[in-house]
């Protein structure tokens, strides 16, 4: 049976589990095995966006307006599509500048201004207080409902109870304690809170599972699926509007815009998305995984809202509590407890991260500037890290107690979603200075101050004060009739602009005034040196890997002073370690060897910025370094020079790529030349070898004839015949070598004309027939076409045919040798084949016979030709666009086939240019 003690125990156990998880993740990070480096964990930590507002409030809004809650989640999906431009740039800037919060980011962009950082902090704290109040309301409300199980009893109005009997007060204190344990164990705010992020990611899983469990129970256990719920709602009549589109495109648009801005600009979202980011790869996955999470967590919102309306029809049950009261109504105590834990996850995740982010801002941008003034810009020579921790811890308590105060003052007048939207509208005021700061160099500190102030004041007037008035804390007259009865100044119909809901109305006026003031004031004056420097670092953040640092600081400093200064805020050991590491990166042995140049001063400043914020860090560094201020002209010169260097660098990279391409081409050409040289050597070697064989024979027989005059006549005639034959072979060889050389060098004369292949075949067969008959063979022919016209050189084709026929005559079988010639047409080509019934050619040798001086094994033992006939024939056929190939199986003869493209009837002869 559920009851107060059990619920409290389970709550403590759950928070203890989170703490254990965070401790484990921190330990792993210390061992170098980070669990939050995973892009999935990063996307889950971004889901801290889904708070008690999503968990309980979306159902409440869906029960009142159907799908009207969706723009709050479609907006982030829209924004996520832009993260690869926007968030990537913010992350890169924050890593190089050691940005610790959104206030630090904006202050740093506009010349490291204390005033601007302070204003952003005030807006963030005041703006987010309603949001924290919302979480307190949700946790205390769900606790109060659950302890009355199995009764469905809604909690009483908080204002009617004394503070010490109000659950929300104890929830606030407890959360403050846990936040201190989670977030302020280390000082350097720019270091990632590994344990915290791991716990937040775990909470995201828990709240998703819990809400899904309720959704499945409601949809598939209480009802027969979605269709059944929709049917019942349709029958109920009064629920039909919930199934129709919500009215007002203005609401759809303004809520989408608001949530698209809030998903990055809320302090806690900036904390997890930018400060806790560990690699740009994480952003790429979050672009789709985070919207998918939002889709899943909202999947059952509408069914739960419809069932709640059906089940509690006529009863006074707040729709914001349906997620919890439906399981209670149906006596599902464990599901109710799990649902409560899911809600606790959603609320605690938000409160912990939000207050850590706000405490960093309060410490660095509100308290530190005050302390610096008190110390007259010279910090006392003691360890200040404990003081900083104390400030942050106090800030956590103060923020949570302020949130609780808002809950007591105004929390009961609004539904959860309405409270959240007030906060969204407040942080939306950061958008113009953030976006302008990232993409426009002309934005100035004064412009940013003017824009933010104007937007914030309009937000207070049109949204915050009306929320107080609606809760009865302020008189409601000024809402209805305007201050002093001036109708035009009515807060929610300013200057007569009516017909919009309060959020759209506030967004229109506040962002309008904000943007106008920012642009007008910024344009009225040129940025100063510091603003120009920072503008360049921010706007050009994605253009170069290394920030423009050197040259933008001029002065004198002592490295020992810089180490001592950072030691006061970070602890001496830590400071020495960081400087030693930095020295190692600059290829020096120890921190003491570092030159006191602009880069070292910048390093000390960014190191300090991680602890006390960029604006305070600048003041602190100035206290130990004698800086010579740079004028705007000098800064512009340096930046021009830097951009010129970048341009030269780009040009050099381009030239380098061109050079690399040229080198690759030269290497390829060189390899080809070496191959050709090798072929030439082979060719020369083959030619000389082929020439030597007949010459040796001629010389031997000539010497015999010369030395032995008595040799008989018959023998003498035989020797002379051999000499003549070898001389003819030599002549043929020389002619063929010359012929091949001409063809290959492109100097051959080609007489190109329409030639009738039938005629060529007839002539070549007539010329070769006797040779075949003399060797005891027979010749047959098969011509299957009537007109066989090709465009080629008649003499060259004759040369090919005679070569193929003489080869066939040489290699046909010694007994019953036969040679067959046939001509056929295949599509647009003509095929001429010459087949013999000789020994054939092994498959491995077939490609070689087209190489110069290559003959088959039988041929090489007793050369019967020059070994150039087939290479020349192939060159000729390929010149006319054809192919020459061989098919053979050992023992079954060989078939040589050449194919030429067919053309029309013979025409007038033409002469090709020499190739």
């Amino acid at each position: 049976m559920l009851g107060g003690p059990l619920v409290v125990t389970v709550s403590f156990l759950y928070l203890g589990l989170l703490f254990a998880l965070a401790y484990w993740a921190d330990r792993r990070a210390d061992q170098g095995r980070s669990v939050i480096a995973s892009p999935t964990v990063y996307a889950l930590s971004l889901a801290v966006y889904c708070t008690a507002w999503t968990y309980y409030g979306s159902v409440g809004r869906a029960a009142a307006g159907g799908a009207g809650f969706l723009p709050i989640y479609l907006g982030p999906t829209l924004a996520a599509a832009l993260w690869l431009f926007f968030l990537l740039k913010m992350v890169r800037i924050s890593k190089t500048q050691r940005i610790t919060s959104i206030a630090d980011f904006i202050a740093s962009r506009y010349g490291k201004s204390h005033l601007l950082g302070g204003l952003v902090t005030v807006i963030a704290v005041v703006g987010v207080l309603p949001y924290i109040a919302l979480q307190l309301k949700a946790v205390s409300g769900s606790f109060a409902i659950l302890i009355h199980y199995p009764e469905v009893l809604l909690p009483g109005v908080a204002q009617e109870q004394p503070v010490w009997r109000d659950t929300a007060f104890y929830v606030a204190l407890l959360l403050a304690l846990f936040t201190i344990l989670f977030g302020t164990r280390h000082l350097d705010a720019s270091e990632r809170h590994e344990g915290l992020v791991a716990a937040i990611a775990f909470e995201s899983i828990v709240k998703l599972l819990a809400l899904t469990a309720v959704g499945v129970f409601v949809t598939f256990v209480l009802y027969d699926g979605l269709g059944d719920i929709v049917r019942q709602a349709d029958l109920a009549g009064h629920l039909q509007p919930l199934l129709k589109p919500p009215g007002g495109a203005d609401i759809w648009f303004s809520f989408s815009l608001l949530s698209a801005l809030a998903v990055v600009l809320l302090p806690r979202q900036f904390q997890v998305a930018v400060v806790e980011n560990s690699s740009e790869r994480q952003i790429r996955r979050a672009v789709w995984l985070f919207p998918l999470y939002l889709l899943l967590i909202n999947l059952f919102v509408l069914p739960i809202a419809l069932v709640g309306q059906l089940e509690f029809a006529g009863q006074n049950v707040d729709a914001d509590t349906y997620v919890l009261t439906l399981p209670i109504l149906h006596r599902q105590e464990w599901l109710a407890l799990f649902t409560y834990i899911g809600g606790l996850s959603a609320a605690t995740g938000m409160v912990i991260v939000e207050t850590i982010a706000l405490s960093t801002m309060v410490c660095n941008d509100l308290v530190m500037p005050g302390l610096l003034r008190r110390w007259r810009h010279q910090p006392p020579h003691t360890d200040l890290s404990r003081l900083l921790l104390l400030i942050r811890r106090s800030a956590i308590f103060v923020v949570l107690l302020l949130g609780y105060s808002y809950y007591r003052l105004a929390g009961e007048a609004y539904a959860l979603v309405a409270i959240g939207l007030i906060s969204f509208a407040a942080v939306a005021q950061f958008a113009p200075v953030m976006i302008g700061g990232l993409y426009w160099r002309g934005g100035t500190r004064r412009g940013a101050l003017a824009g933010l102030s104007a937007g914030f004041l309009v937000w207070i007037y049109t949204l915050l004060l009306p929320s107080f008035a609606k809760s009865g804390w302020l008189p409601g007259d000024f809402l209805e009739h305007g201050p002093f009865g001036i109708e035009l100044l009515k807060p929610q119909a300013l200057f007569g602009l009516g017909g919009f809901d309060e959020i759209t109305h506030c967004l229109f006026w506040s962002l309008g005034c904000n943007i106008a003031a920012y642009l007008i004031v910024s344009s009225s004056r040129l940025p100063n040196a510091e603003e120009t420097t920072q503008a360049t670092r921010f706007v050009d953040a994605l253009k170069h890997q290394r920030p423009v640092v050197a040259g933008l600081w001029r002065g004198s400093a002592e490295v020992t002073d810089l180490i001592a200064l950072t030691g006061r805020f970070l602890g001496e050991a830590r400071a020495r370690r960081e400087f030693a590491e930095y020295a190692r990166r600059r290829k020096l042995k120890a921190g003491g060897e570092l030159p006191a140049d602009a880069e070292t001063v910048h390093f000390a400043e960014t190191l300090l910025a991680g602890a006390i914020g960029s604006a305070s860090a600048r003041v602190m560094v100035a206290s130990v370094a004698q800086e010579e201020p740079l004028g705007l002209d000098e800064v512009m010169d340096i930046l021009d020079e830097a951009s010129q260097i970048r341009a030269y660098s780009h040009e050099l990279e381009h030239k380098s790529r061109q050079l690399q391409r040229a080198t690759d081409e030269l290497k390829a050409v060189n390899a080809k030349l070496q191959e050709l040289d090798h072929l030439k050597d082979d060719f020369m070697s083959s030619v000389t070898h082929e020439l030597r064989t007949p010459l040796t024979s001629i010389r031997a027989f000539s010497e015999i004839l010369q030395e032995d005059p008595k040799i008989d006549l018959a023998e003498r005639k035989r020797f002379l015949a051999i000499i003549v034959s070898e001389t003819e072979r030599l002549t043929r060889l020389v002619n063929q070598v010359l012929d091949l050389a001409k063809i290959e060098s492109g100097h051959a004369d080609w007489q190109s004309s329409e030639v009738d292949l039938c005629e060529i075949l007839g002539q070549s067969i007539a010329a070769s027939e006797q040779l075949i008959l003399d060797r005891g063979g027979r010749l047959s022919q098969r011509i299957e076409v009537e007109h066989a016209s090709v465009r080629a050189d008649r003499d060259r084709l004759m040369q090919v045919m005679l070569n193929l026929l003489s080869n066939a005559a040489k290699f046909m079988a010694a007994e019953n040798g036969s040679v067959e010639v046939w001509l056929q047409q295949r599509e647009d080509s003509l095929l001429v084949s010459v087949a013999d019934n000789g020994q054939g050619i092994a498959e491995a040798l077939q490609p070689m016979i087209f190489e110069k001086f290559r003959q088959t094994a039988a041929g090489s033992a007793n050369p019967m030709g020059t070994g150039l006939g087939l290479p020349i024939s192939r060159e000729i056929i390929e010149h006319f666009g054809g192919t020459l190939s061989v098919k053979s199986e050992p023992g079954k003869g060989a078939i040589f086939t050449f194919m030429l493209p067919a053309s029309g009837r013979p025409e007038n002869d033409t002469q090709d240019e020499a190739l």
Partner: protein, 66 residues
């Protein structure tokens, strides 16, 4: 098979996705899908479609961080 990212093409694809999302959720097309009798689940389907395209682009242009 994932390809190495080409920053220019990746930026173009991301912008195209954004235009597609705007076209779906912030154009006169909104009134077309919201007037359907099955209005209440259509936004979820369109939403899922956008997420799937985003995931597809992610894997198409995935590159390994150093």
């Amino acid at each position: 098979m994932p390809r190495r990212a080409e920053p220019g093409r990746q930026n173009e694809s991301t912008l195209l996705l954004l235009i597609f999302v705007l076209f779906l959720f912030a154009s006169p097309l909104t009134s077309w899908w919201s007037s359907d009798q099955h209005f209440w689940f259509l936004p979820y389907l369109l939403w899922l479609l956008v997420i799937l395209i985003g995931a597809w682009l992610h894997y198409r242009f995935r590159r390994h961080d150093p």
